[in-house]
């Protein structure tokens, strides 16, 4: 019996290939994601050690709030106390800056990669190793890492402009260095500029301060003893940590980044697995029904129902094992390919060794074998009931679940799924709860609707086929009849496409609502005429530009006011909770942005002692204008801030807004996230010609600034609106591309089913050809059948997608999305794409059918 199964598989190569294809794709996608992230993790963890450097201890300010780059500096006088501690060999004070030191190349372009940071350092001989030239040891000099120099054609001896946290200055490149080790430069794609210590203190805005002091312990001394001694010397204001702690912190930071990355990619991989399960299940169903006579013969000559079912399971096992092995191989390739694809999308992922961990192989086998075996359960159970009579009689059909049972099971699953979705979106409080409920809910709805769909596949397919039947006469009629005659198969074939399009449709609704909300906010809330933002774009709020740029624009007569904006995540503690905080210039901001202030006002408030907040937290905390709030900042200081305004539009400043005075008192970072400006004399009430003239003057005036500082882009309101929209669209495009992968799988599924159906109908096709159907007509009939199935799946999927999308939009906080928008035009395009996918899927099966020899086909058993 086992031999029979193996022989069968080997014999039916096309069937085997079609069955394994979907499994291989599933396994490969999951393996690819794991391989990519494991490889990244391996490269990153090496990096974490390199960054920790060659010192044994680090002295720094203790920090328990905000981001690492918000850790406050300390007075340089502390270094004197450390030098004299017993057992200390060397003391290397340092300053650094994150994402606000940018070298400008010969062409006047900012060297700023998408994703990886730009870093400014003071020279540290324990982590930087000169590759060419010298270390910077005087004012006006800098060194950069070897890969930045090579990639951008920087030449030692030349002078380059560098944008720092506060201003731009010219420096002479005196050397290039390797980071981490003397032999090999460790790179994540970061850009590094290193300066002599005093120069760094000045340029990186650390007057008389250090960010950290690295300590090398004398050979043979006990590190813990020295650590305690230094701690005693510096007092409680600073902390002394070992290099292991630093390394762990770095690794943790990378790990967090990779985990997010891993989870997002895995989510897409599992969508592919889920979609594939439908296809695999469908394929097994068809394969079993094709073998019904053969299985009947086996039953007649003495195979038990269990033996027949076991042979189906065994076939699944073989398919699963084979696909797992092939899938792992493809997954390794895919991991490499993904890295390349992500790099071309603007990420700079480090190159490194390929990591294939045991965990990955276990997952691959669990998915490859598990999904296949799971998919085989129903077909195997049905094969058990095949009667031996099937061997003798033609036209035996597999017993399927009765329609009533289908309605019950499908209906109940859909309802439970819907309930979970509602709970997830509107009731659940923690993120994990939300995600679990939504994911399980969506999966149940998909399976439920797929179980229900055979009950309406026939009328819907008949209706969809009506225009085709009218247009193509008999050919169209045959296509329509074939799509409608086996509603179960039509429904399960369409199932994979349904899921893909439900996801695309949902993303479409969410994306469109997001864009609408965003543009609406821009149109309603924005009073300023010009906007300045970092030229690297993106959504990273830690990417900033020098404050000097805002000052320079403010000094132009064409502009009459400039507002500076800063932003920090989880960096202000109020009532024990870390809040995101926005900073702006209170005296001007109301003329630039309108956050719908309902009580109070910002313009006349005391900038140093005030705070404004959104209505929701105001209600939660029971505060109003005039009340005080106690806020703690990353420097450990606590302020009593008076509430001066309550606003209702959270899409601009989030929930918490302070003045730049408060920011400058507590945050080490001075770079701006954003700036807005008003054009002198400009008003929307002016005649259009005058408006245009003013904007033209403003553009001309700001152009030299933008040229001098390539780290920024300055845009008028219209340009800004467009660039924001473009940015959002390209972000959405990435998501669509990933979701489109599931469409490719669905396409394989349709091709698969059609190929098997054609095989099954060989005799019928022979008959049609014998009575005069041309090859062309036959191909056309199969093609249109595919289109009907595809459109059926697409429409079903889009209906679900729109429901999911609208639910998601309602559930997402108004800060992000407040307007529900269904992109009907897009949805129509998706249906057309699905139809085209159907045509593509039909190419090979149609060709195969057309090539059949008429006589052979008629006598086909």
């Amino acid at each position: 019996m086992l031999r029979l199964t193996i022989k069968n598989l080997l014999d039916k190569k096309i069937r085997f290939a079609l069955t394994t294809l979907a499994v291989i794709v599933s396994v490969a996608s999951v393996v690819g994601v794991f391989v990519l992230t494991d490889s990244l993790r391996a490269s990153f963890s090496g990096l974490a050690g390199d960054i920790a450097g060659g010192s044994d201890l680090t002295v720094r300010v203790a920090q328990d709030l905000g981001q690492e780059f918000d850790r406050p500096p300390f007075d340089e006088a502390f270094a004197d106390g450390i030098d004299v501690v017993d057992g200390v060999d060397d003391v290397i004070p340092g300053v650094f800056s994150f994402n606000d030191t940018v070298i400008i190349d010969d062409d006047g372009e900012a060297i700023r990669p998408q994703g990886p940071p730009t870093l400014g350092f003071s020279w540290d001989p324990t982590t930087f190793f000169i590759a060419a030239g010298d270390a910077p040891d005087a004012l006006g000099e800098f060194a950069t890492d070897v890969s930045t120099a090579a990639d951008n054609g920087l030449i030692i001896g030349q002078t380059y402009a560098i944008d720092g946290p506060t201003r731009q200055e010219d420096f002479r490149l005196v050397g290039t260095f390797r980071f981490g080790s003397p032999d090999e430069h460790t790179s994540l794609g970061q850009t590094m500029a290193a300066f002599e210590l005093e120069q760094a203190q000045d340029f990186l805005n650390r007057p008389g301060q250090y960010d950290a002091i690295a300590v090398v312990v004398e050979q043979g001394e006990d590190v813990a003893t020295v650590q305690a001694a230094i701690q005693a010397a510096v007092g409680q204001e600073l902390e002394v940590v070992t290099s292991e702690v630093i390394e762990d912190e770095n690794a943790e930071g990378f790990d967090e980044f990779i985990s997010i990355f891993n989870n997002i990619l895995l989510a897409f991989a599992f969508i592919i697995v889920f979609v594939s399960t439908f296809i695999i299940n469908n394929t097994f169903q068809i394969v079993v029904s094709q073998r019904i006579r053969e299985l009947g013969l086996l039953r007649a000559i003495g195979a038990t129902g269990n033996q027949v079912a076991r042979s189906v399971y065994f076939e699944a096992l073989l398919v699963g094992l084979f696909s797992t092995v092939v899938g792992i191989l493809f997954g390794l390739l895919l991991g490499q390919g993904l890295r390349g694809a992500l790099n071309s999308l603007g990420f700079s992922l480090p190159a490194g060794p390929i990591e294939l961990q045991t965990r990955t192989i276990v997952w691959a086998a669990a998915i490859g074998v598990g999904v296949t075996m799971l998919s085989a359960i129903v077909p195997a159970r049905r094969s058990r009931t095949i009667s031996p009579i099937a061997a003798i009689q033609n036209d035996q059909r597999l017993a399927g679940a009765s329609l009533t049972r289908r309605l019950w099971v499908g209906g109940v699953m859909t309802l439970i799924g819907g309930a979970l979705l509602v709970v997830g979106l509107f009731v659940a409080s923690t993120t994990t709860n939300v995600l679990t409920n939504v994911a399980i809910g969506a999966v149940l709805i998909f399976i439920g609707v797929n179980t229900l769909s055979p009950s309406f596949a026939r009328p819907v397919a008949t209706a969809l086929g009506a225009p085709i039947a009218r247009l193509f006469g008999t050919t169209g009629e045959i296509a329509r009849g074939n799509a409608a005659r086996s509603p179960r198969r039509t429904a399960s074939t369409a199932g994979a496409l349904m899921i893909g399009l439900a996801l695309v449709g949902m993303a479409g609704v969410v994306g469109s609502s997001l864009t609408k909300t965003f543009l609406n906010t821009l149109d309603n809330a924005v009073e300023a005429d010009y906007f300045v933002q970092s030229s690297s774009g993106g959504f990273d709020p830690s990417v900033t530009f020098a404050e000097e740029i805002a000052t320079e624009i403010d000094s132009l007569p064409e502009f009459d006011s400039v507002v500076r904006y800063r932003f920090a995540q989880s960096s202000m503690r109020i009532g024990g909770v870390d809040k995101d905080v926005f900073a702006a210039d209170f005296d001007l901001v109301e003329r630039h942005l309108d956050a719908d202030i309902i009580t109070g006002g910002l313009t006349d408030a005391d900038p140093r002692g005030s705070i404004a907040l959104h209505q929701d937290p105001a209600e939660d905390l029971g505060v109003g204008v005039g009340d005080t709030l106690t806020a703690t900042f990353p420097d450990g200081e606590t302020d009593e801030l008076t509430v001066v305004a309550v606003f209702t539009d959270s899409s601009i400043f989030g929930n918490w807004l302070v003045d730049n005075d408060v920011w400058e008192a507590h945050f080490v970072r001075t770079g701006l996230a954003f700036a807005s400006a008003t054009v002198t004399g400009f008003s929307d009430d002016l005649p259009q010609a005058e408006q245009d003239a003013l904007l033209e003057q403003a553009a001309a005036a700001i152009a030299p600034v933008a040229e001098q500082f390539p780290t920024i882009v300055a845009e008028s309101r219209v340009e800004f609106r467009q660039s924001q929209q473009d940015q959002l669209n390209s972000f959405l495009a990435v998501i669509f591309v990933l979701l489109a992968l599931s469409l490719v799988i669905a396409l394989i599924g349709i091709a698969n089913t059609l190929a098997l159906s054609v095989f099954e109908r060989t005799r019928e096709i022979g008959l049609l050809r014998a009575v005069g159907m041309t090859r062309r007509q036959l191909r056309r009939a199969i093609r249109w059948e595919a289109v009907i199935i595809a459109v059926f799946g697409a429409i079903l999927g889009l209906i679900l997608g729109v429901i999911f999308g609208v639910a998601a939009v309602i559930a997402i906080p108004d800060t992000f999305i407040s307007i529900v928008s269904v992109p009907y035009g897009q949805l129509v395009v998706y249906v057309l794409i699905a139809a085209i996918a159907g045509i593509l899927a039909a190419i090979l099966p149609a060709r195969r059918a057309a090539r059949l020899n008429v006589l052979d086909a008629i006598s086909h058993e």
């Binding site: 019996m1 031999r3 029979l4 022989k7 069968n8 080997l10 014999d11 039916k12 006579r293 053969e294 013969l297 086996l298 039953r299 007649a300 000559i301 003495g302 195979a303 038990t304 129902g305 269990n306 033996q307 009667s387 031996p388 009579i389 061997a391 003798i392 058993e861």
Partner: protein, 250 residues
């Protein structure tokens, strides 16, 4: 075969008592079998004849345990079929019944030899190699034994099918139009082989056919019309069978 067979069935490999099979109900009711009593004796070659729709195939399917009766009882050896579970019926078929069909007799992916030993493989026991070799050489398949069905002629395929039925030395072999797809020469070879299996090895065979020549190879012919046995003939020749058919046709 059994230790203490009941006297009535002592010489019967299979028998039916009051076998009735009704399809549909009410206006569409069809009595495919209407109270058939028949016995296939050990070591006897019986042909079942009758016009289309007479119920001959239904009778064979029911007696072989492939289909169930509406009422009445069928015995294979001393075992009544109606009380058997699906699993026991399968095992009974596997161990005690052989089949030869008109078409689609063989698993296309297995070689001739593998097809012949398939029932033994299914039972998970080795085939009786000596016996199988004997059967194969008798049918003259020795040279073709590693070929697949699509590499064999129709007659050769059918010989493989008969060999498979014989290989497990079943109590009875049911053959459904075994020569229906073959030319008369090839068909004659198959029938002669079945005849010799009865004569030399004492195999019991029941065969459904509508060909008087084929029926003439049997020891006995029973005639079925409208689900009832209407007549029977011993030691038939093509002519006597033809005469009988003509008389029934009138």
């Amino acid at each position: 075969m059994t230790d203490a067979p009941p006297p009535a069935s002592a010489a019967a490999a299979a028998r039916a008592e009051g076998a009735t099979k009704i399809y549909g109900s009410g206006d569409t009711e069809v009595r495919a079998l209407d109270g058939v009593d028949v016995s296939f004796n050990l070591g006897e070659f019986t042909a079942i004849m009758g016009p289309s729709g007479s119920g001959k195939s239904t009778l064979m399917h029911c007696m072989a345990g492939l289909d169930t009766l509406t009422s009445g009882e069928v015995y294979i050896g001393a075992t009544p079929l109606s009380v058997q579970s699906e699993k026991d019926l399968t095992l009974l078929r596997r161990d005690n019944v052989g089949f030869v069909f008109q078409a689609f007799n063989l698993i296309p992916t297995l070689t001739a030899m593998e097809n012949i030993t398939l029932p033994a493989d299914l039972a998970g026991r080795p085939a009786d190699a000596e016996w199988v070799d004997k059967v194969i050489s008798t049918v003259g398949l020795t040279n073709r034994i590693t070929h697949r069905p699509n590499e064999l002629s129709g007659g050769q395929q059918q010989r493989v099918a008969v060999s498979r039925a014989l290989a497990s030395q079943p109590e009875i072999i049911f053959a459904d139009e075994p020569t229906g797809n073959l030319d008369s020469t090839t068909g004659g070879e198959i029938l002669a082989f079945m005849r010799s299996a009865v004569d030399e090895y004492g195999q019991t065979i029941a065969m459904v056919t509508h060909d008087p020549t084929a029926a003439s190879y049997a020891d006995r012919v029973i005639f079925l019309v409208d689900g009832k046995i209407v007549d029977e003939l011993s030691d038939p020749t093509p002519d006597t069978v033809l005469d009988m058919m003509k008389s029934l046709g009138d």
